[in-house]
């Protein structure tokens, strides 16, 4: 399965959406709903359902990829700050985010938090909210706190929308996003069981399109893809089975993912666009819906470099995941200057070595466009495993 042959189907549509830095899919929605607002969601996890329930469109603002040249933002953020912070600011400074009414930032890292302040100062027309997610997940009080925080955000989106996001609307939104996440989980299941039928690059483009367009419009594409993929015939190649970790915030270029695969890897699982796939199961569709989101965050969400859950060893969790997946190796795909991912790497490397699982660190920047060096590194790594 190559990217070229996928162009004829839903994947081609998704790839076009993903490669467009001007958020055209969201603009089209806005043209159809001129009175409704659009809310940008910075990584990692954002409470999309709350935004959706107020009749607003949540849109993933995940940096500028490798199609935005940074000309202004690097005067505000230093050279040692990750690219996504700068490219997101650049998008704002070059009016690419002019369709947004609001923007949500989250307590994921220090640069992202400061970026929220820089947004407040530089874009006074934009409603910028900073969400503090709890980090003491072992505390029985975390649920009440997070419920209150999510209610605060609900009040913000209601104000932006000029209409209520009542419990019934929120339950509908939860049900819709549950269905979307179930489909994405199914997509990842296919990757795990038949990676020759679905490349990671293709699945990534498919999911990322979902961050940029209305969930209602993306669902049919996703469901169509899930019908198409199992019907494909493809021969399994002699590749190593890899778990990818570390790209939960800034996203690698699509070409980089394809390059790693072509260098001899089946990427069985990854943490790309992790915030959109945040929950490990359905968010309860009954009871108090805000509380349902809060308890799901605390008890049914994925492990992530920006979430610190002391109830389980982080390194131990990775080892279990790699073993359960039957992965031959782990590739750390860390964004340059991403402190949370780079810290995790130090912790994980030690644990993987103890467990005897081969690993490779690949640092990337969203704006990179030459991949020869990475290809060489991955090929060498793969060869060292296939021919040992």
């Amino acid at each position: 399965m190559t990217l070229a042959t996928e162009r004829a189907d839903v994947f081609a549509q998704c790839r076009a959406i993903v490669e467009d830095p001007f958020l055209s899919a969201a603009r089209q929605w806005k043209d159809k709903h001129p009175s409704a607002g659009v809310v940008g969601c910075y990584p990692v996890y954002s409470p999309f359902e709350l935004v959706h329930a107020a009749g607003l469109l949540p849109v993933g603002i995940i940096g500028g990829g490798n199609r935005v040249e940074i000309a202004h933002a690097d005067a505000r953020f230093q050279s040692f700050i990750c690219s996504i912070v700068k490219s997101t600011l650049e998008l704002g400074l070059t009016n690419c985010l002019d369709l947004l009414d609001g923007m949500l930032f989250h307590s994921i890292c220090d640069p992202a938090r400061n970026l929220a302040s820089v947004f407040v100062r530089n874009f006074p027309h934009l409603r910028v909210e900073y969400v503090h997610f709890p980090q003491n997940l072992a505390s029985p009080h975390a649920t009440a706190y997070l419920t209150a925080e999510l209610r605060r955000i609900r009040a913000v989106v209601q104000e932006l929308a000029g209409r209520p996001a009542d419990d019934a609307a929120l339950r509908n939104s939860i049900a819709l996003y549950n269905r979307w996440r179930r489909n994405v989980r199914a997509l990842y299941d296919l990757r795990r069981t038949a990676p020759e039928r679905l490349s990671a690059a293709a699945s990534y483009a498919l999911v990322q399109a979902g961050t940029l367009m209305p969930v209602e419009e993306h669902l049919p594409l996703l469901e169509e893809a899930l019908v198409q993929i199992p019907a494909r015939s493809a021969k399994r190649q002699d590749r190593i089975r890899v778990l990818v970790e570390g790209a939960f915030c800034e996203q690698p270029p699509l070409e980089l993912i394809a390059c790693i695969e072509e260098a001899g890897c089946y990427l069985l699982d990854d943490d790309f666009l992790l915030g959109w796939r945040w929950f490990t199961g359905d968010v309860p569709e009954d009871g108090d819906p805000v509380e349902a989101l809060a308890t799901s965050y605390i008890d049914r969400s994925v492990y992530c470099g920006t979430k610190h859950d002391v109830r389980e060893s982080k390194a131990g969790h990775l080892i279990q995941r790699a073993q359960a997946l039957g992965a031959d190796a782990v590739i750390f795909l860390c964004a340059k200057f991403c402190e949370p991912a780079l810290f995790d790497y130090a912790l994980y490397r030690r644990a993987l070595e103890e467990a005897g699982i081969p690993h490779l660190l690949v640092e990337f920047e969203e704006k990179m466009w030459i991949f020869d060096r990475v290809r060489g590194e991955v090929e060498t790594f793969v060869e060292s495993m296939l021919f040992r």
Partner: protein
Amino acid sequence: MTDPPKTSYQGRIHLLQKQLMGRYFDALTQAAAEGSPPAAYMLISGNPVELVRAFGMLPVYPEVNALQIAVKKQALPYILKAEELGYSVDNCAYVKADVGLFFSGRAAPFGTIPEPSLILCNYVGCNVYLNWFEHLREYTQAEIFTLDIPFVRDPAGPRPEDVEYVIAQLHELIAVCERLTGRRLDWEYLRHICALSARTGELWAQIKHLTKHVPCPLDAYFDAVTLMGPLYCLRGTEEGLQFFEEAYREVQERTELGLGPLPEERFRFVIEGPPPWPYLRAFRDLFSRWGAVAVASTYSTVGGLWEFGFAHDPQRPLESIAMHMLFWNLTNRDLLRRYAQIRRYVEEWNADALVIHSVKSCRLFSAGQGDMREYFTRDLGVPTLLVESDLEDPRYFSEAQMRNRIDAFFEALEHRKLTAVEAPR
């Protein structure tokens, strides 16, 4: 220009501080040898040391250990050790120096660091804290308690649910400390400790306000850091309070006598960002040679913002500890509040300029300082200099480059002062 005499201010406070910190590190070494009293690892930013002390636990601050190693110019081997283990050149060098120290048998040049009985991750703003203590927990397998402090995100300050959440966690922490130490919390003792902290904070605040005087009686950055050691390591003790009584007397005397840290005060500046610990003296001299004195600094408010009205309340110990952590410190406040704090310093402390020391290690401080420069120069017309190095890693300090930038800035500032004086004629 010819080099004028370097600052020679070495008061009683400097001497006393050395003795006190020496005793503090001796206590750490003794605890490491004897396994008692139990050590609680904590972070500097707005911390609940009062509670830890109430249980007779010894507060250990990995940040203080890391910076002491840097001041003694011995950080690099520890940093390199951590990098060998997989830490990135782009990770905070405080963490790396501390991890390097941990894997060197916890033996620092100034003492041995005890193993933790409790890893108390007071998450007050800095996200790296979470990674740091998560790693220490994996390495030591000691009990960890993450005290989650919601960031200030409402213009009005902490929200009622934030305060409730923090107080509820403090109660959980009390239960953990009771279990670990086998003793019940003595509320009277906690109130006594809070009273000591309140008086200490008050004196510290008064000292910070004395730096409004011309000439400024002590450098609010280079001398203030001398006071910060006892403020954090000994806050809530009689010894710590006595130090601040002595410090206040000294600074008050100097104010009355019109003494400053330099022979002549020619420029007053506000400084933002942590110091370059490995080159503290060299960095200071680059300003001293221009007769430039720091009259206020944001770094000295990392652990608490007493100068703007905070005091621990012995009658409401947990509430005031919670408010200290939530609101009355620099790190749990957003960048725009920091701009407001600096603006207030520039105006009320009558400063000529702002110097931003941008450090790679601490992105809480540095991320976005270009925007800060933009705001102060363009919007407010405050002459602003941005220089870069690091707080721990000596590889990022280039003295020649730093000197060029600082000289050029003060030359321009001097010119600006002269032309401003001549203008009304």
